[in-house]
Each structure stands twice: as structure tokens, then as C-alpha cells.
Symmetry: C2
Subunit: 368 residues, 2 copies
């Protein structure tokens, strides 16, 4: 895996703990009357991300009693960020809005009533829609979760959406035990890679579907390196020989679908009777199509998962507990961040275009 | 509702309780060496029901210790019987097989170890695939449930499949309380009519989708007479004005789908967030198509229901309890049998053709 060198470099250059020299001006900001200049990726209309997103200067809002002034360090481009800018998402911020829904930053200063984070803490965003693609921001204390300082920065930056989604989907729909199997499509996505790793850590066996591509063997090797038991193409998934796969491993009781269309129907056909398919994305832009007989005679269950909804339904402490569980996987070497390409904010057009290309295996991460 | 006159006539002519004169020969059958002649509707191959089903003479098998000799009185033609003959069903009997999966009969004689039924009892079949379209049969004691003699014969004949399916779907997927609403398609089917009546008895409000037809007003009046709150056509279901319906009643938390295709997608759009659609049939012969956003952002759940599977998963006593619960609805006048057309076994071709015609509102019931 390619290591995000610049981010690690930032850490090593003393961003943690906060050096008095580097942060003193900002740390005293809340007591200062001078507004700080913030650079941010802003969109005023929904549309094609590379066209509607612009780099702008914003003024930092005042730090109220329960607010936290955060210097952003890194914020990835996730598929849901793209959907949100396009206007195709379950929640949409008021426009103009700053792009990005997750990221990691360092606390610069805190309001008088803030108790859960302190200057110098590494924090990630626990709430979607606040805009993370910016150099600095003032967030409400409740929106932040302090993460341990021994977690790699690229892992922290990409922890709140994809690994959380992967872990919850593996835990909340079927009671799986070691040796059980799981099938997924879009296995090279951020969630897909997290599913492979967390499943392996839990003793679950995975069948991982990917789109055919020129460098398939390389991808297969990489996913197997993460813990994937089988890596197969969408075309192989549709062949009758697929059933031979389940002579040597139990039929999956859980399928994770980020594609929709034919791919999702084939996942359903692979499921064990009474199994569940959880849909969390629709990359093919086609609905999930379910043969009636699979519902009636095979008693399959179809569900959906949306991490934002999970957070709404659970307390901040429960989210924090989830983050700490994932940090334990990271510390044990069982969960690594996806390969990432660091991009400065001004190169947003290139980053947004890249994030929408097929077969791009690295995640675009804005670094500030 | 049209009353099955001949069946009631049979009852009144003293079939219940068993008259010594009428049943004495049959009642002593198990002690006799002479095999009885049975007429039965038999199919030797899967195919078009009106073509593959023939009226044949069979010999009655011997009555073993745990067996029950039953004189069949009435047995309906259900959609699942048709699917089974066509070979499109979750379980298929060994061929040649006698058609029909439910029905009511009267016990003629019992084997030495039988304790739960006695000669003269009215019994219904609790197990599918045994073949009810015949004049007499020997069934295992476990396959039978004695039903109270005050239940109308046409209700008893049609109790084990459709009302059971309707009741379980209303009870087992969402915790509904009086005032909650339910939406269904195929509302004029056997299950559909039972759903309307049981829902009304439970204080649930129903939106009932039917196909447009020349006598729509007549059908609407009839379903409203059963307790339907709204009766709408498939075309009305697709109109944006549908949402006005839910200004005066809560959005349904449960949808019951017997159609598939577009109809099922529209049911999903009407569901309240986190609601469940249960599929129990696929009359349109098209898969259920689910927009990905309804799974992810609306958290809808898709399930299937098959009464045969429910019976496999539950004890005979639990099935008996279910039958008795439904008998209570019947006694209170809250659940009536669908309008039926009585057909003698020899007119099977006409009955099977009729049962497959669209817009036929009466259920074909073989009487012996």
C-alpha cells in the first residue's frame, strides 16, 4: 500500500502535539477580534463536481462557547461527497456549501464550555454535511470525535464513513460467526476494502466481486493481501460455475451491494436461504431487481444502510465507541487506509475528475 | 356475497354430524379388505393445468395406525395450485400427483393410534402437496386439523392458505397498532380479501390496489363492504396525487405485494420510512424492482412470505392455534369466505381455465 507520505511528514514535523510556535496565533483566535482567512472548496449550485466547485476565501465564524476551532489536515473525496454535490443524496446542505463530509483536523482553540476536546487533539467529523474541504473551520463540539494520536493520519481522515459503514453492515444485519461467508460487489471501493479487512479480522470468509479490468491480477493480489479469500469478476459471478465456489465454503448469509442492477441480482442468487442483502450504494445507477421466487421461496431479506442515519439513531458516545473499536483494528494492523493520492485544495478539479473515473484504485485526499 | 348453496345443502342434509346410514360402509372401511374407488384430478406432467389434469380412478391406500380416512367435501383452486401444476413452485410433488393443496373433508375412519380426530370430525389439510382434489383420501393424522363444526364449509375449505397468509403477514413483519395503515395490491385475490377483513377487525386502515376493469365500481363497493377504506386502481397508484391520500391517513408501514413489477415499485414509494414490503406472489411475472435510494435513504425493508415455510417452521399446535384464531374472526362475522363457484370434479377443465382468467372474482371450488 502506498503511504500518504506528506501527511505522515506533517505529523512528524510536530503538528502533534501542538507546537506553541505553529499554532499560537490561531489558538488565541477566539479571543481575537481579527477574523481568520479560510480557503475552502465551495459549490453554489448542484451539478458536475469539477464544474461547480470553486476554491474561495471564507471568513471564519466566531468561536462560541460550545464551538471548536479546527485546522483541517486531510479530507477525502468519497462517492457520497460527489453525489451530494450532484444533488443526488439523502441530505443536501443549504447552498452555497463547502464540500466534503469527513476528514481529520487538529483542535486550535475551544470555546469556554467545551469539555470533550482540547487544543492539540486530533479530531474527526462525526456529522455529515458540515464541509471538510477547507483549511480551517469552526465546528460544534458535538460534531467532533477525538481520535487517538497513534492512529495514522490517513486512517483517521478516512475512518468516519467507509470503515464505519463496513463494520456496521457486518455486525447489524446477520449474526455471523467465524467461518461464515460474506459476498460483496464493488470490492475495491473504500467500503469494500474495509469489509475485506474487518471480515478477515472477525474470521469471516469473503467472496469479492470486482469489475474486469486490464490489471485484474494486480488488483486480485492486492485484495487478497488485505484478506480477501476469493476475488471474482462480475462476468464470473453470472456463470453457473459460481456454485462450485460454495462446495468449499458455506453459502454467504450476507451480501453487501454498492452497485445495483444485474450485479445485485446475482449477489442475491448466491445468498444462502434466509440470507440478507444490504444495499449501501448504487454505482450502476440501476435499481435492485429481485426475482419474486427468491423472496417467497428462499426467504431472502433486502435492507439498506446509510451511515448518516445510523449516526442520527445513535448517541455520540455510541459513535465514539464505534470509532474506538475501529482504532483497535488499526492498531492491531488489521485495518489500513485505502491507498490515497494527496491533492492540495487548488488542484480540486483534477481530484474531483479522478474520483469519478472508473478503475481508479487510489482515494483522492485533500491536504491542507 | 354469493353463498355456496350446494355445500351448505350438504351440511344441512346431515353430513354433520356423521349419519350412521350415510357413512357406515366407509366408516368400517379400515376393517374391510375391499379397496374403495376414489375419483381424483391427477397430473402426470407439468404443463398447462387444463391440459395436463385428468379425472382418474385411484385405489384408496390402506389405513395404517396413524392414518385417517377422509371423505373430501370441498377443495378450492388457488393460484399456488396452478403454479404447482405448471412446475413453478417452491415445492413440487412427485409425479403423477393429485392436484390441490387445501380443502375440507369429514373423517370416515381412523387408524388405531389416532387420537386427535375421530369419525365425523370436519378436518382441513395442514400440509401442502398432498392432493385435495379427490373424493376420498387417506392422510396421516399430523396433516389434519379438526375445525369447529359451526364454521361454514366454504370458509373451512378456504381457510388454510389465504386467510392464514393474510393474518401472518399482518402480524409478523411490522408491529402495527389500531389506526396504522396497510397498502396492498391484488386486493381482490383470496389473500387480498382476507387482508381487508382481518385488517378491519384489527382496527387497521387499508389502501387496496386493484386492476382497472369494466365493473370497477361494483368491485370497489364489494371490497368496501368487506372493510376496505380506499380502493384504487394500478393507474391511480402511479399518479402524483396518490400522496394526497396520506394527508388524511398515516403512510403505510406495511405493503403486501402479490404482483411484482411496476405495481410493487409503486407500493414501495407509498411506504412510510422504515416500512416493510412483504411479497407473497408474482402475478405480473416480473421481478420486484427497488430504487436504490428507497433502500438506503428511506430504509425500506423487503421480505417474502410463504405459508408452507411458516408451517415447516412452526409446530402443528401453532398452526392449530392460528386456525382457531381465524375461526374466531369467522364466528364474529369479521371474516367470510370469498365468493365461490362450485364445480364438480368432472368439470375440472372449465374450473381450471376459469381460475386462470383475469378479473374473475369468484373462487373455483371443487365439490365432491
Amino acid at each position: 500500500m502506498w503511504v500518504c507520505g506528506k501527511l505522515l511528514g506533517q505529523l512528524r514535523r510536530g503538528l502533534l502535539p501542538v507546537s506553541g510556535r505553529r499554532w499560537s496565533a490561531a489558538a488565541s483566535y477566539s479571543a481575537s477580534a481579527e477574523p481568520s482567512r479560510v480557503r475552502a472548496l465551495v459549490y453554489g449550485d448542484h451539478g458536475h463536481p469539477a464544474k461547480v466547485v470553486e476554491l474561495k476565501n471564507l471568513e471564519l465564524t466566531a468561536v462560541g462557547g460550545s464551538d471548536v476551532h479546527v485546522k483541517m489536515l486531510a479530507a477525502p473525496v468519497n462517492p457520497s461527497d460527489i453525489n451530494m454535490i450532484q444533488g443526488n443524496y439523502g441530505i443536501l446542505p443549504k447552498l452555497p456549501a463547502v464540500g466534503g463530509n469527513e476528514g481529520v483536523g487538529q483542535v486550535v482553540a475551544v470555546g469556554s464550555s467545551v469539555t470533550r476536546v482540547k487544543p492539540g487533539d486530533l479530531v474527526i467529523l462525526g456529522t455529515a454535511g458540515l464541509g471538510t474541504w477547507r483549511t480551517e473551520a469552526v465546528f460544534s463540539e458535538e460534531a467532533l470525535v477525538a481520535v487517538p494520536s497513534d492512529i495514522p493520519l490517513q486512517s483517521a481522515a478516512t475512518l468516519a464513513v467507509n470503515p464505519c459503514t463496513a463494520y456496521r453492515m457486518l455486525m447489524d444485519f446477520e449474526q455471523l460467526k467465524p467461518g461464515d461467508s460474506v459476498i460483496q460487489n464493488a470490492s475495491n471501493s473504500g467500503v469494500g476494502q474495509a469489509v475485506i479487512q474487518i471480515a478477515a479480522a472477525l474470521g469471516l470468509r469473503t467472496v469479492n466481486v470486482v469489475r474486469d479490468r486490464p490489471d485484474l491480477q494486480k488488483l486480485t493480489d492486492r485484495l487478497k493481501g488485505l484478506g480477501a479469500e476469493h476475488v471474482i469478476t462480475e462476468e464470473e459471478l453470472r456463470k453457473p460455475e459460481m456454485k462450485n465456489l460454495f462446495k468449499d465454503m458455506p453459502q454467504p448469509r450476507l451480501a453487501l451491494n454498492c452497485v445495483g442492477g444485474k450485479s445485485s441480482t446475482e449477489l442475491l442468487r448466491c445468498l444462502a436461504p434466509r440470507g440478507t442483502m444490504v444495499t449501501y450504494g448504487g454505482m450502476a445507477k440501476q435499481p435492485v431487481t429481485v426475482p419474486v421466487s427468491l423472496l417467497i421461496f428462499k426467504d431472502l431479506k433486502l435492507r439498506g444502510f446509510w451511515m448518516s442515519q445510523w449516526k442520527t439513531d445513535h448517541s455520540p458516545d455510541q459513535f465514539k465507541e464505534l470509532i474506538f473499536t475501529l482504532c483497535d483494528f488499526i492498531r492491531r494492523g488489521q485495518l489500513t487506509a485505502p491507498a490515497c493520492s494527496e491533492v492540495p485544495l487548488q488542484d480540486h478539479q483534477r481530484a474531483l475528475e479522478s474520483s469519478m473515473q472508473p478503475f481508479v484504485s487510489t482515494k483522492q485526499v485533500f491536504t491542507m
